[in-house]
């Protein structure tokens, strides 16, 4: 039957689902709200997880952070699958044209041999660090409580994999598969990279998922991305004919800028909840910051030579300022 619907204006019985009306009042809900709030099972869970019989399948007790409402962690980007994927697809398209542009204009040819080697030395081992970050975020998504905080971690995990894959393409563009082999060799055996690898492996056995979120997404990314992508790629290399590398890494800089908004929101909300949370977050941040700064020192040495200490110090200081603004005492 063909119906002409232009004349029909029917009044809905209700605007949204009750669980959203209870939170936000009876008004139309956004797709972010519909797809995220309260959708994880939280009552009458059936069986004991054989992989962790001490807790229920979904259990807020897997972290020492305590929240009255785990749906307080609104993502400022309001990412659900659709908006997340569309955003990344747009970024991917621009990354693709960046890679094409760099290739077609032979931009990498402007880089001196020693700087090309330096770029590979600094960036290639980070493929593996990004894979570590991917595993951490995937694990947080599995262990966390409440979709508002678990789904951004799943997205972050896929982003971490994307970063590792963009770095792989950078390596192939700057060198060849040999460049990837050398990067892996450095990650496994070069003294300069061992502190960072040790740190990443330590995070892989960190069992409190909120601590892991702090260590990975707040502290580690918060130091590594500014140091490597802002200071090294966009500033140092860019100033030495490395605009091509900078273009190929544009996703990473942009991504970190976006992720900061989210991780800041998470820390702020958790810290504001209680003094106990704030103390715990401060302690975690302090501990991981010190370990991370120490692990990045030899990487910074390789990247910046004599200026390493000063640059790492600037990055750390600005991270400290950021943490203080979020209510942490470092």
């Amino acid at each position: 039957m063909q119906i002409d619907l232009r004349t029909v204006s029917i009044k809905p019985l209700r605007n949204t689902f009750d669980h959203l009306a209870r939170r936000f009042g009876d008004k139309p809900a956004s797709r972010y709200q519909e797809g995220s709030y309260d959708i994880q099972a939280d009552a009458n869970l059936q069986y004991r997880p054989t992989w962790e019989p001490e807790h229920e399948l979904h259990d807020p007790g897997r972290t020492r952070i305590v929240m009255a409402d785990w749906y307080a962690f609104k993502d400022p980007r309001q990412f659900y699958y659709g908006t997340y994927t569309l955003t990344r697809a747009r970024q991917q398209e621009s990354a693709e044209s960046n890679f094409d542009f760099v290739d077609s204009r032979c931009l990498l040819g402007q880089l001196a041999e020693e700087d090309r080697q330096l770029a590979l030395d600094v960036l290639m081992p980070l493929r593996h660090a990004a894979w570590g970050a991917n595993m951490n975020n995937t694990g947080i998504c599995a262990d966390g409580y409440g979709t508002l905080i678990t789904q951004p971690c799943m997205f972050a995990a896929m982003d971490n994999l994307g970063v590792a894959q963009y770095l792989t393409r950078v390596g192939l563009a700057l060198g060849d598969t040999d460049a990837l082999v050398a990067g892996r060799e450095a990650w496994m055996n070069d003294d300069a990279w061992q502190p960072l690898r040790r740190l990443v492996e330590n995070t892989l056995v960190t069992r409190d998922w909120f601590e892991l979120l702090v260590a990975q997404n707040f502290v580690s990314d918060g130091l590594l991305y500014p140091l490597v992508y802002e200071q090294f790629v966009d500033t140092k290399l860019n100033g030495r004919g490395g605009a091509g590398v900078s273009m190929m890494c544009a996703f990473m800089t942009e991504w970190h800028g976006e992720m900061r908004k989210w991780s800041d929101a998470v820390i702020k909300v958790a810290a504001k909840e209680s003094d106990a949370n704030r103390a715990l977050l401060s302690e975690w941040t302090r501990t991981w910051r010190d370990r991370c700064a120490e692990a990045l020192a030899p990487v910074a040495d390789r990247a910046f030579g004599d200026e390493a200490a000063a640059i790492l110090d600037t990055v750390t200081q600005s991270f400290n300022d950021r943490a203080a603004k979020l209510g942490l005492d470092l």
Binding site: I10, L13, A157
Partner: protein
């Protein structure tokens, strides 16, 4: 630098560099501390690198193709909603199938999302990790697109206003809930056999292909779109299912009996779960594409059997339960619908008696059973209803300890006799709908004694509305349970005929087709 000397990498080589090459063997932490979950199930894996992901999607292609799917999907959902597309469905009874769908399925997808995230972290090889991670994020997509697509029905029709609350509480929804929570509480290898192989590869075609095609046939563009769009991800997931089983069986001959046990268990768990889909196909689609039995024959007996024939070279056998399912395919949809009809005051959707035309279709599709066993039931119900004495079963049913379905299934060879099985464990009695559910229990009693059976929970007093006092003289336990479920009796359930849904749909459709 001369770029042209570089060798061009093939898709497979490039994909290996983009995935497998990212991982490394930890040395600062012990392997078993980084991957603590991979040993306790007894499965032996010698070389994780033997895993091959045939689809080889890198993140850039993933984002690109998935975004295109999302754009199409939401464009159709938006258009469907803006044009009041719900008034275009064949008949408002159809919408009740969507109520069951929303009440049951997004929560399954969601649990699949979290379950695959666990595997994406804990499988000890980059190949399976990435495949599981992509599935994890896809499953979140499915949960969300289903909620978004069905959300508009909630604005105009009753019963799903609090679907998530009901999913954790309502009696019949403990069936899908327990299925997925069972899988999610398993170790990673059993989980992936349960979901990727048994559920995705062997069974989901039955839900998403003929049922969704049926939704299209009934004018539901929104459901057709999210259903098929989800299924396009499933094609990848099913491939993961097949890959994972090959991988496990090729790694060590000792894995065979373990894998076989899981296939047997999860094929049965899945088939029991699909009982409700059988009912939706045979009774809830006003225009029918094919019967449940036909769908079963195509997608399980033909396609499923090709799969088992293929796996025979590893020693995998067709699960024993298949013999019973072959017999039950003539019965289960009818048994389920008569159950929901008789339990109408306790559900969150409307039921009805099939009309003459529908009865004839059922007779034709089920020549061996319908006229003998089921048509007389509907005739009796109709007679009662016409006398103003609509039949309702006033009792709470006994549930199977494993599948949690009321014990409504009959003996495979005796369709008038309810099948009941019973065992004792730790001094307590446990009851089952079938040999297969009994065997599942006997294999892991410690797991299933913890089942949250809605009927027993109601009796224990755990399902009364907050604030109600069970010791008060005027306490009405059933009313209180309905309140606990957030169900409004008569409005959210009962007969479709005379319901607010029926009245509104007729009125709105009238507004759309006339000048009134």
């Amino acid at each position: 630098m001369d770029m042209s000397v570089k060798k061009k990498l093939g898709l497979k080589e490039k994909y290996a560099l983009m995935t497998r090459d990212l991982g490394w063997e930890p040395s600062y932490e012990k392997h078993e501390d980084v991957f603590p979950l991979i040993h306790y199930e007894g499965l032996k894996i010698h070389d994780w690198d033997k895993w091959e992901d045939p689809f080889r999607l890198t993140m850039d292609s993933y984002w690109k193709y998935q975004a295109e799917k999302e754009r199409k999907l939401y464009a159709i959902i938006d258009a469907y909603n803006q044009n009041n597309g719900h008034l275009n469905v064949t008949d408002a009874r159809y919408i009740n199938a969507m109520k069951i769908f929303l009440s049951a399925v997004p929560s399954l997808e969601y649990n699949a999302h979290r379950g695959f995230a666990r595997l994406g972290r804990h499988m000890a090889g980059v190949g399976p990790q990435v495949a599981c991670q992509m599935q994890a994020i896809d499953e979140l997509r499915h949960a969300q697109t289903q909620i978004h697509a069905i959300s508009n029905y909630n604005r105009f029709y009753n019963g799903i206003h609090d679907w998530k609350h009901m999913n954790d509480r309502l009696w019949y929804l403990s069936v899908p809930k327990s299925f997925f929570e069972d899988a999610c509480t398993c170790g990673p290898f059993e989980y992936i056999i349960a979901i990727s192989f048994s559920f995705e590869y062997v069974l989901t075609n039955l839900v998403f292909v003929p049922f969704v095609s049926g939704a299209a046939y009934n004018g539901d563009m929104g459901t057709m779109t999210f259903g098929f769009s989800a299924q396009s991800d499933e094609a990848r997931h099913m491939t993961l299912g097949l890959e994972v089983i090959k991988f496990m069986l090729e790694q060590d001959p000792d894995n065979l009996p373990i894998v076989q046990k899981w296939i047997d268990k999860w094929t049965w768990r899945g088939v029991r779960l699909l009982t409700i889909v059988a009912m939706m196909m045979d009774y809830m689609l006003p225009k029918r594409v094919m019967s449940w039995k036909e769908a079963w024959e195509i997608y399980f007996e033909e396609n499923g059997m090709s799969l088992f024939k293929d796996l025979a070279r590893y020693g995998i056998k067709v699960p024993d339960c298949v013999e019973q399912i072959k017999k039950e395919k003539h019965h289960i949809s009818h048994q389920a619908w008569t159950t929901f009809y008789a339990a109408a005051p306790m559900t969150n959707f409307h039921t009805w008696l099939p009309n003459e035309d529908e009865l004839d279709w059922l007779s034709e599709k089920y020549p061996e059973t319908f006229d003998t066993y089921y048509r007389p039931r509907f005739e009796f119900f109709r007679e009662q209803a016409e006398k103003g004495e609509r039949f309702v079963n006033p009792n709470l049913p006994q549930l199977c300890q494993v599948c949690q379905i009321p014990m409504l299934f009959t003996e495979p060879d005796e369709p008038t006799q309810i099948a009941y099985r019973q065992v004792e464990h730790g001094g307590e009695k446990y009851h089952f709908c079938s040999d297969h559910c009994q065997h599942i229990f006997e294999d892991e009693p410690e797991k299933y004694v913890e089942a949250w059976l809605p009927v027993h929970q109601i009796m224990q007093g755990n399902c009364f509305a907050e604030g109600d006092d069970p010791t008060a003289p005027d306490f009405d336990p059933i009313a209180s349970v309905l309140k606990y479920w957030h169900i409004v009796p008569g409005k959210d359930n009962g007969d479709f005929a005379g319901s607010e849904d029926e009245k509104n749909f007729a009125q709105w459709r009238g507004m759309a087709t006339s000048n009134q």
